[in-house]
């Protein structure tokens, strides 16, 4: 038997918002077993996969497009991207493999690529598939796959990086944001890494990454004291740096643990578990089992997508049609549009989400969500006195305890379930977890 509050904390961080019965079920098990099931789920994933598009509006278009053709292609690409983003939100709500999906979302913010420049649902969807396929195993496999990912290449101008004319964009961000962190390399390393990455380009007819030997800078490059010749050997050298596992651990901690610095002992445990096999799942397990993880309650601000998807899950609101549109709009107005991170640095975190302008958007979205809750799901909010109703709202939204302040506000609204839900959704206890 696990402590219910502790397991609730775990599920709030490792899922998109746990339902009361999911917490109940997990609390009947051993904490370690719950972590193991989250990291390596036994249950099959029955949620609908992301859509694959038969045709991409831009692929295989030979010659120069007319103004009208360009506008039509842009419109079509945008529609596909909206379809993809909505389907992804639906998956986040429905999938049984919650932690796996949340990791896809994490990697999306880590290798932050935006459809604003990529403009292709096929390529953005393909990148999500790469995160899903390789995001829980050997990080080297993921990193090597990402250097062949057409969306990332396009986003960071990799196709323009050639032996004759280097373009450092991808090489720099690979080191600064994806593997090592700023300051762990020199400008000379960036230039050499860019040369190692030359040759990878896009086949525009197929929308695929291809290696063209004629564009590749032959020969050895010296990066961080190692010798590299191509993308794969570059990855091997980067991931062998002591800075790498520490950097990755701190990135995971920032999104699943706390905005406070990663404690040294937790870092050690995570780095050790990661080991020479660069096992992402082992690193995550070490983090979730660490006693300092348990002490991080109240130290993470929910990102808008986490807030919105969690509410849809917990309230049983269908993530389709009008409510899905409302959720997407709400998240966008709060500053988070799936598939469109604001920069290659990924999403903001912490207090950056707690502004008066994002609060206004949360209030609006909360009112819409509360109005869409199916009547049967409100049943617990009809029973007992005001106090019982406020407790029921906490149970529904996986809030362990209300502060006296919020309890007072919710008690005033307890007679009207929709109002109660609205206020609970905008409460500080629900915004921060």
């Amino acid at each position: 038997m696990a402590d219910r509050n502790l397991v609730a904390h775990l599920l709030r961080r490792a899922t998109f918002g746990p339902r009361a019965e999911e917490i109940d079920a997990a609390a009947r098990r051993d904490y370690r077993a719950v972590v193991a099931e989250l990291v390596a789920p036994a249950k099959p994933d029955t949620a609908r996969p992301l859509p694959v598009f038969a045709e991409d509006p831009y692929f295989g278009r030979a010659g120069k497009l007319s103004r009208e053709q360009r506008a039509a292609a842009r419109r079509a690409a945008r529609e596909q991207l909206t379809t993809l983003a909505q389907a992804w939100l639906t998956r986040m709500v429905h999938t049984e493999q919650q932690f796996a999906e949340k990791l896809v979302f994490f990697w999306h913010g880590h290798w932050a690529t935006s459809a604003q420049k990529v403009q292709s649902a096929t390529l953005m969807g393909g990148q999500l598939q790469t995160f899903r396929a390789y995001g829980r195993g050997d990080f080297a496999v993921l990193a090597k796959a990402m250097l062949r990912d057409p969306a990332l290449i396009l986003w960071l101008d990799g196709q323009r990086n050639t032996a004759k004319g280097p373009n450092e964009n991808l090489a720099r961000e690979l080191m600064e944001l994806f593997t090592l962190g700023v300051g762990a390399y020199t400008e000379k390393d960036v230039k050499a890494a860019a040369r190692a990455l030359t040759g990878w380009t896009l086949d525009r007819a197929r929308g695929a990454a291809v290696f063209q030997a004629g564009r590749h800078a032959e020969g050895d490059q010296s990066v961080l004291g190692g010798t590299v010749r191509d993308a794969d050997s570059l990855v091997d050298v980067l991931l062998a740096q002591p800075a790498h596992p520490v950097f990755l651990a701190s990135r995971l901690w920032l999104r699943f643990g706390s905005g406070e610095p990663l404690p040294a002992a937790t870092r050690e445990a995570m780095v050790t578990a990661y080991g020479d096999r660069r096992d992402v799942s082992a690193m995550l397990t070490a983090m979730l089992l660490d006693e300092r993880f348990a002490a991080t309650r109240g130290q993470l601000v929910k990102q808008p997508v986490e807030w919105a998807v969690g509410a849809l899950r917990q309230l049983g609101v269908a993530p389709t049609g009008k409510s899905a549109t409302a959720v997407l709009t709400g998240a966008r107005r709060m500053g988070q549009v799936p598939l469109r991170p604001p920069s290659v640095g990924g999403w903001p975190s912490g207090a950056a989400w707690l502004t008066t302008s994002s609060l206004q958007m949360r209030m609006k979205a909360a009112a819409t969500l509360a109005a869409a809750v199916p009547e049967p799901n409100l049943a617990p909010l009809h029973e007992g006195d005001a106090d019982a109703k406020v407790d029921a709202a906490g149970r529904l939204l996986a809030v362990d305890a209300w502060t006296a302040r919020t309890r007072a506000a919710l008690t005033e609204a307890a007679a009207r379930p929709q109002r109660l839900i609205t206020l609970a959704l905008i409460s500080p206890e629900y915004a921060v977890h």
């Binding site: 420049k117 960071l156 309650r297 500053g335 604001p342 290659v344 209030m363 502060t403 006296a404 302040r405």
Partner: protein, 416 residues
């Protein structure tokens, strides 16, 4: 004092968590803020700073162009502008053809261009370099911005320095207080949420985490909110694409610069107590196909800033506005093979307004051949310019803000 009255303006402002708030030092409630509303601002010059941040690394050599330098043509090849294309400032230097408004300001002696601005050991990371510019500390990462520290020393009132960006930029985070973030689109609350709800949820509760306290403080900032309608709309509200901006996103506000400056103009005309406005535009990271993209971006900045200053010129308060434009770095001198440029170093700062000792190029164009690893060598430390802004625009002592930095760029502004 029409649509944005002082009171409505104050109501719309909200304090965002800077270092001080995250540390749990307590948030300002609206009542705290209103209580100081009619304090005189005073101070030497009584000027207003509008800080325009261009995110993504604006290409200084395509903004202020050394068109007569052979080395420029050699390095930039197809990206180079011809002599008859630039807006000539003198026999060697011209502005990008998209910058007709700035050219006119220059001719009216209201624009000074400081060249070769940078810092030692330049960092070519967007994020680290922007941190350096915003914290004014190139030596080590710190969690306060230079204007946040000015706030620390200048009455610690968050309304003194506001951001019109959705997320508070580090430049306005101080050690003991932070500037306010003002939503552009006005404030609205759903009918089902009452003023009493906001008041109740905004109360502090003992023992909660600092972030949860911050979430509660956001309600306090919205207390008594009526509907605030402004014309300064978020132009991109329903378009996630933000037009067809071709660049790699490296930060910057979502609303157009024009929309942000419209709100600044109304605030200045309304006589609010704010001394510093932070606005921004992103999308300057042109690793490829730079020329057209850069021109579109510069045209947007040019139109927004020159239009803003034209409007400001019509009022006494407006004539005290000083606009400062900067970016985290310039670009590599030599173009890459994608007709773009990679991350570089030293660049220009543009200082504009009636108070500016303008029509001048300040400092030499750094050599295009004597380079630091392919990049321009800076000759003016950015803190020299900050010191001048602190002294001549904000009437403040730069010492505590810039931690004893002694350099000063003199004569940037007319004496008040």
């Amino acid at each position: 004092m029409d649509a944005v009255t002082r009171r409505k303006f104050l109501i719309a402002s909200g304090v965002v968590g800077g270092a001080a708030l995250v540390a749990g030092a307590g948030a300002y409630t609206l009542h705290d803020i209103l209580a100081t509303a009619d304090h005189p601002t005073g101070g030497p010059g009584d000027r207003t700073l509008v800080l325009v941040t261009l995110y993504g690394g604006n290409d200084g050599l395509a903004t202020v162009i050394p068109y007569a330098d052979r080395a420029y043509r050699d390095a930039r090849a197809d990206l180079a502008y011809d002599t008859d294309e630039v807006l000539r400032l003198d026999a060697e230097t011209g502005l990008n053809p998209a910058m007709t408004g700035m050219k006119s300001l220059y001719d009216r002696k209201q624009l000074a261009i400081v060249r070769g601005v940078g810092y030692p050991k330049p960092d070519r990371s967007h994020f680290r370099s922007m941190d350096i510019w915003q914290t004014a500390n190139p030596v080590r990462p710190v969690n306060t911005g230079w204007l946040g520290r000015w706030l620390d020393h200048a009455g610690r009132d968050p309304r003194s320095a506001i951001s019109l960006e959705p997320v508070l930029p580090p430049v306005l985070a101080g050690a003991t207080c932070a500037g306010a973030a003002v939503p552009l689109g006005g404030v609205s609350v759903p009918k089902s949420i009452t003023d009493a709800d906001l008041k109740a949820l905004g109360a502090a509760s003992a023992g909660e985490s600092s972030l949860q306290a911050r979430a509660a403080a956001c309600f306090a900032d919205l207390i008594s909110v009526d509907k605030l309608v402004t014309d300064a709309r978020d132009a991109d509200d329903d378009d996630p694409d933000h037009g067809d901006d071709p660049a790699t996103g490296t930060g910057g506000a979502q609303a157009t610069l024009q929309a942000q400056l419209d709100l600044v103009a109304r605030c200045v005309e309304a006589g609010v107590m704010t001394r510093v406005f932070s606005v921004s535009q992103g999308g300057f990271d042109f690793h490829a196909e730079a020329r057209t993209g850069q021109e579109i971006q510069l045209k947007t900045v040019d139109a927004a800033v020159s239009g803003f200053l034209d409007r400001m010129a019509r009022t006494e308060r407006g004539r005290k506005v000083v606009v400062v434009i900067y970016s985290e770095f310039g670009r590599r001198v030599r173009a890459n093979s994608s007709d773009g440029t990679d991350h570089g170093t030293a660049s220009d700062m543009l200082i504009a307004g009636p108070a500016v000792n303008g029509g001048r190029l300040v400092g030499d164009q750094p050599s295009l051949t004597d380079l630091d690893d392919g990049d321009l060598k800076f000759h003016t430390d950015f803190r020299d310019v900050y010191a001048a802004i602190l002294t001549d625009v904000l009437g403040a002592d730069p010492d505590p803000v810039l931690e004893g930095w002694s350099g000063r760029l003199g004569g940037l502004l007319h004496s008040a």
